[in-house]
């Protein structure tokens, strides 16, 4: 499941990544994406709302700086594909915006925190409704372990061993730029 972003008192918080740290991690991921795919041909970015979409936009900007080419950018909202409607009830649905066909494309799926893998499972199902991609690669800022499904990330900003009841908070400013990543112990 995705980490909640609620703050509460009497919690111990640890700074995991600050703004320059996040920036360096994303720069490295951008280079790794280009290296592994040998350039930008047939490459598209899709960010998972909300958080992953902001990071995907930053990756697009970085790839443009490096290669001089702007990749198509999509946003996917996975609420309608979740498997916990019965246990957690309906939640607000965001807009999915993928204005291009994914058929034959190499899709870089971007999320902020990889945890149980269930959000990614939902996102993979959602992407399949937009065509038949050549492949889907997963980029995450934080991999915190505790997978419940056989899913792994291709590009990881930071591997972070966590306890199950801890939370990872990725905060963004008003312009949707990441500020920091914090670990919150209950």
């Amino acid at each position: 499941m995705r980490t909640a972003r609620e703050d509460s008192m009497s919690q111990v918080e640890t700074l995991i990544l600050d703004q320059p740290g996040i920036n360096r991690a994303l720069t490295r991921i951008a280079h790794e994406i280009l290296e592994r795919n040998k350039g930008t041909d047939n490459l598209v970015l899709v960010g998972i709302r909300t958080g992953g979409d902001h990071l995907a936009r930053l990756l697009r900007d970085k790839i443009q700086e490096i290669e001089g080419k702007s990749l198509p950018l999509g946003i996917v909202d996975v609420t309608m594909y979740r498997d916990d409607l019965d246990s957690r009830g309906p939640r607000p649905v965001g807009m999915t915006d993928i204005a291009f066909s994914l058929t034959g494309e190499k899709v870089i799926l971007v999320d902020e925190v990889l945890f149980t893998g269930r959000t990614i499972r939902a996102a993979l199902d959602a992407l399949m409704d937009f065509g038949r991609p050549r492949n889907i690669q997963l980029a995450v800022l934080i991999d915190r372990g505790h997978r419940e499904l056989p899913i792994r990330a291709d590009y990881v900003g930071r591997n972070l061993p966590t306890a199950r009841d801890e939370k990872i908070l990725v905060t963004f400013d008003a312009a949707h730029l990441p500020i920091e990543v914090r670990l919150v112990k209950p």
Binding site: M80, R88, D129, F130
Partner: protein
């Protein structure tokens, strides 16, 4: 924001935030309706029964498509082939349907308030697809969505509702919903078709003439003359009605130049609206129908698990 209602029976029961949530969900659902593969797995394994005691094409089809796009199994029951014609009571029909374990019953019934009666008898969700002259919440929501698409807001708009207010559940849902969202409503119709005390329903002004109601209006909602619901004749004839309360290109000019023209359908062309207006550039009638599917998807989605969350 979590939707806490198990049933959606009337917009009167919802607050502003809940209406906003349903409308914003509907906007997201619209994106699904524009895809090549118009289906998401959200309500997989849920069973929806469309129980329509009154005839309906638009609403029933719309609810059926909405359910199917969310991957629910939808079953339609129409009066002509149901046991109601054999004398079964509503409660008995409901209990029998319940034995088949539906998750949602979408019902249209001629008796106002029958959904509240049904909600007390069953443990599944009830969605009102129109009850007598009470409410038609999905129509109210799709009207609001259509208006919001055009103006980007609902507050501060002048909305005229013209026609048979007394027998119109659409008018009641529009009044309940739009009042909560901050619109000002002006109703007009023959005195026999405007209920006394209509102002008490919300932010409503009852007008003596159609001209008063549509003057400088942002939105004009024309209602159908419901011959089937009117016990005795409430007007001399349709030609006279059309002359005083019909919308035509001439009196449409009284409204704001970009005013939105809507109608819940089915339209009696030449009675409440002239064909020039129905097919004209200001008519958003088909847009309403399109929004109907998205709004109903939002309603089905939010009642599932609604009330059970903490």
């Amino acid at each position: 924001m979590v939707f806490r209602h198990k049933h959606i029976i009337a917009l009167r029961d919802l607050n502003k935030e809940e209406i906003e949530l349903l409308l914003s969900t509907a906007e997201s659902m619209r994106e699904i309706n524009g895809r090549d593969i118009k289906k998401v797995p959200t309500l997989r394994g849920k069973t929806i029964i469309n129980l329509f005691y009154e005839s309906s094409t638009r609403t029933r089809t719309s609810f059926e498509i909405a359910g199917k796009r969310l991957s629910a199994d939808t079953v339609n029951i129409a009066p002509s082939n149901s046991s109601a014609t054999k004398g079964e009571t509503l409660a008995d029909t409901a209990l029998n349907l319940l034995a088949m374990k539906p998750d949602i019953i979408v019902m249209r019934h001629a008796v106002s308030g029958s959904h509240y009666f049904l909600a007390n008898k069953v443990n599944c969700s009830i969605i009102n697809a129109g009850d007598g002259a009470h409410e038609h919440p999905s129509q109210g929501l799709l009207d609001m969505l259509t208006i919001k698409d055009k103006f980007g807001r609902l507050d501060g708009l002048k909305v005229a509702i013209v026609g048979d207010i007394t027998h119109s559940r659409v008018a009641r849902s529009d009044i309940q919903g739009l009042t909560k969202m901050g619109s000002q409503i002006f109703v007009a119709g023959p005195p026999t078709m405007v209920p006394p005390g209509v102002e008490k329903l919300g932010n409503v002004v009852a007008c003596g003439t159609m001209k008063e109601a549509i003057q400088d209006a942002d939105v004009i909602i024309m209602l159908r003359i419901q011959q089937e619901r009117q016990g005795k004749t409430l007007m001399p004839n349709t030609r006279e009605y059309s002359r005083y309360f019909g919308l035509n290109p001439v009196n449409l000019k009284l409204a704001k130049p970009d005013a939105l023209v809507m109608h819940p359908g089915p339209i009696n062309r030449g009675v409440e609206m002239s064909s020039y207006v129905v097919d004209g550039p200001q008519s958003h009638i088909l847009k309403q129908v399109e929004n109907g599917v998205a709004v109903r998807m939002a309603m089905l989605y939010h009642v599932c698990g609604g009330g059970s969350v903490e």
